[in-house]
Amino acid sequence: MARSFGTAEFLYLLKAIPWTLLLSLGALAGGGLIGLLIAILRTSPFRVLRWLATGYIELFQGTPVLMQLFVTYYGLAVLFNIQVDAWPAVLLAFTLYSGAFLGEIWRGSIQAIPRPQWEAAECLSLSFPKQLWYVILPQAARISIPPTVGFAVLLIKSTSIAAIIGFVELTRAGQLMTDATFRPMIVYPIVAALYFLLCWPLSLLAQTLERRIDATLGISKHF
């Protein structure tokens, strides 16, 4: 006899939300570091570094995140010859994945800064890292906020794939409750609504930021 879907089952779903958030935040943090490095390498004057960064981006953008997840999960197991927990594997996979996408977003933001800004900084005798730090990155950061928030929304939804290798986040919790209650048409709409509640504020934030930055920055207006 199946359980009915009640408060306990609903609470079980709620308790899975922190894992979805933790996975998303962890991947954003780690991916942010990788992404910054990739973006800088992609725009550096050194061809070999640009190639390496491009290769990384192509690899992770050109393969399904599910395959990346499988390769990390089983790869870690083979590499260390142990049964790996799902958590480090999904965190690593989504970190690498985020690194590629954030790298590409930020590469675009850096390249959106007009060439004369680099030249003006260069002509003040600033070294390449200082040109980046004082002149280019602060401007690129403002441009990149809306697409970065947009990616965060995508990432939160993508983490549902982690359910496939058994990591209990929101989607996996939904599967478990469906198996227990046989009520997919109650459980999954609720799961979807919970995702929506996580993502919608971020989408609103992205839109607001976009308007604000258009209005205040005035970079495009001036070049």
Partner: protein, 253 residues
């Protein structure tokens, strides 16, 4: 010994020979105005001097030292040679003060307090001390360009390059920028300008260089060059300018 000596500088962009064996010496305190039609290589010449473009051949000697285009030498060179661009190129995310103090602090290691004092001083030179806290987009084009001049001066350069710095300005804003140029010239600054301001060139330049097809076609003091051009190319260039602008005609003629 000249401060800057260019010898046989050539530069090609694809099929276009932008510079074709240009040699030029700039003495300390000299003001040289480079004139010529667009595409004659004027801006490319300036950009070669401070390493934004790399000449295909020829040598650039600054203060007696031949430059090799290594990052370290270019960095050192840019403490000595300032440049002001046609499109100002101020940093839009930084205040006027920070635009000016960035070079001295981040590149030359000057203390921030000293740099802020310096910022006041150079802003006074361009009559914009009251705009020290403003952001570039709050200023008119003429004001932005004067801030850009102040920013270049704050590096305390021995030579300043000006690349058509009034060309992007509305006509009524040109005067305020030219006045600053006049003042700098009188103050003994060594200046190399690409300019269409014939009034300024005649008034404040020691030497006029007329460029044509990537070469120095004619060179000499303003009175001589404007008064009796030797080549038909310069004569027709002067005619072309005079026909569009009666004010310039008064200044030049």
């Amino acid at each position: 010994m000249p401060l800057l000596a260019l010898a046989s500088i050539s530069k090609r962009f694809g099929a276009h020979q932008a510079l074709d064996g240009v040699s030029l010496a700039v003495e300390t305190g000299e003001v040289i105005a480079i004139i010529g039609r667009s595409g004659s290589g004027k801006s490319t010449l300036l950009r070669c001097i401070n390493g934004l473009e790399r000449p295909d051949s020829g040598t650039i000697e600054f203060a007696g030292k031949i430059l090799a285009p290594t990052p370290r030498q270019l960095k050192a060179l840019r403490r000595e040679i300032g440049i002001v661009f046609q499109s100002y190129n101020l940093f839009p995310h930084l205040s006027v003060e920070r635009n000016i103090t960035l070079g001295p602090t981040a590149a030359k290691g000057m203390q921030l307090d000293a740099a802020r004092e310096l910022a006041r001083r150079v802003l006074r030179m361009v009559d914009l001390e009251d705009k020290i806290a403003a952001y570039p987009q709050q200023l008119s084009g003429g004001q932005q360009q004067r801030v850009a001049i102040a920013r270049a001066l704050a590096m305390e350069p021995r030579l300043v390059l000006f690349d058509e710095i009034t060309a992007a300005l509305d006509p009524e804003l040109i005067g305020e920028v030219v006045r600053v140029l006049d003042r700098l010239a009188q103050g003994g600054m060594t200046m190399l300008l690409v300019t269409h301001e014939m009034g300024f060139a005649r008034r404040s330049a020691d030497t006029i260089v007329f460029m044509h097809q990537g070469r120095i076609w004619e060179k000499g003091p303003p009175a001589k060059l404007f008064g009796s051009p030797r080549t038909p190319e310069l004569a027709s260039f002067i005619d072309a300018i005079l026909s569009v602008d009666p004010v310039v005609k008064r200044c030049v003629g």
